[in-house]
């Protein structure tokens, strides 16, 4: 057994985090917590990008993470605005009560 931390270790950690995030999406009903789980999954993918970029020996993985961060920031802004708008209309943040697209 050699205890050198290879990129595979980081990818395994990323797989575990992604699984926990997906589990949260399936289990939780609060729209805000589901949103946080999406962020968790995005971060797991970012870690995979970084580890793969290091294994490949170039900077493309880090650039991909940069763009994912920008898209995630835009997504959070719009998503939270939608949650607040829905809360104003319905007084709830539970996705069980939001079963139709009609406003």
């Amino acid at each position: 057994m050699n205890f050198v931390v290879t990129p595979g270790w980081y990818m395994t950690l990323a797989a575990i985090l992604f699984g926990i995030g997906a589990l949260g999406i399936l289990v939780r009903r609060n729209a805000l917590v589901m949103f946080m789980c999406i962020e968790l999954m995005l971060n797991a993918v970012n870690l995979t990008f970084i580890a793969a970029g290091r294994a490949l020996g170039n900077l493309d993985g880090q650039l991909a993470v940069f763009f994912v961060l920008v898209v995630a920031a835009a997504e959070v802004v719009v998503g939270l605005a939608i949650i607040v708008a829905i809360f104003r209309l319905r007084q709830t943040a539970s996705v069980d009560d939001l079963t139709e697209m009609k406003g």
């Binding site: 205890f3 050198v4 931390v5 595979g8 270790w9 980081y10 395994t12 950690l13 797989a15 575990i16 985090l17 992604f18 699984g19 926990i20 995030g21 589990l23 399936l26 289990v27 939780r28 609060n30 805000l32 917590v33 946080m36 962020e39 968790l40 971060n43 970012n46 870690l47 970084i50 793969a52 970029g53 290091r54 294994a55 490949l56 020996g57 170039n58 900077l59 493309d60 993985g61 880090q62 650039l63 993470v65 940069f66 961060l69 920008v70 898209v71 920031a73 835009a74 997504e75 959070v76 802004v77 719009v78 939270l80 605005a81 949650i83 607040v84 708008a85 809360f87 007084q91 069980d96």
Partner: protein
């Protein structure tokens, strides 16, 4: 050896934070768990020589995004308990099994493949080639990837405009109407 210790500490912290996000009843605790995960992720990025991305992770995620999350949690209110009835029978148990299967498949793929898709694996790779300093990131970002960079600028503008359009949509809320009607 140092990398192993830091990896174990930060990996454990990130998994604990992720479990807190899923388990916590109070959304504020979930946000704090997410914050722990984001910080330990930043440390793991530094371990992988992604210095600039780690700084951006702290500033954008742990700074701006978490502030926005906490702001919305306070706006919506944290006192409402989550409905624990299962609208789909055995939903939690099924979700748990599915999550375990997903994690197992992920770990098995990583362990099985042993990075056969990576042409040249030397771990750690050439530190000069993967050292993510600001200069090293900026050269391809404003050269090869400049079109994508401009597209993200457009995306951020559209997102800001969309958020303003969604947030400024005013209609009289029923609570306010009742209050004015009562008085």
């Amino acid at each position: 050896m140092v990398e192993l210790v830091v990896f174990a500490l930060m990996g454990g912290a990130s998994v604990l934070g992720a479990l807190t996000v899923v388990r916590a009843r109070n959304p504020v605790y979930a946000a704090m768990g997410l914050l722990a995960t984001l910080f330990s992720m930043a440390v793991l990025y530094v371990l992988n020589l992604a210095h600039f991305v780690a700084a951006v992770q702290i500033i954008v995620y742990a700074g701006a995004v978490m502030t926005l999350f906490l702001f919305v949690i306070m706006l919506i209110g944290v006192d409402k308990a989550e409905d624990l009835r299962e609208s789909i029978p055995h939903q939690r148990r099924l979700a748990m099994a599915l999550g375990l299967v997903a994690v197992g498949i992920g770990i098995a793929l990583v362990a099985q493949g042993r990075f056969s898709w990576v042409p040249v694996v030397s771990s750690p790779a050439d530190p000069q080639a993967t050292n993510g300093t600001v200069e090293a990131i900026a050269a391809p970002l404003f050269g090869e990837w400049v079109l994508a960079f401009e597209a993200t600028a457009l995306l951020l503008t559209i997102a800001a405009a969309g958020a303003i359009a969604l947030a400024s949509h005013r209609r009289p809320s029923p609570v306010l109407e009742q209050e004015t009607g009562a008085s």
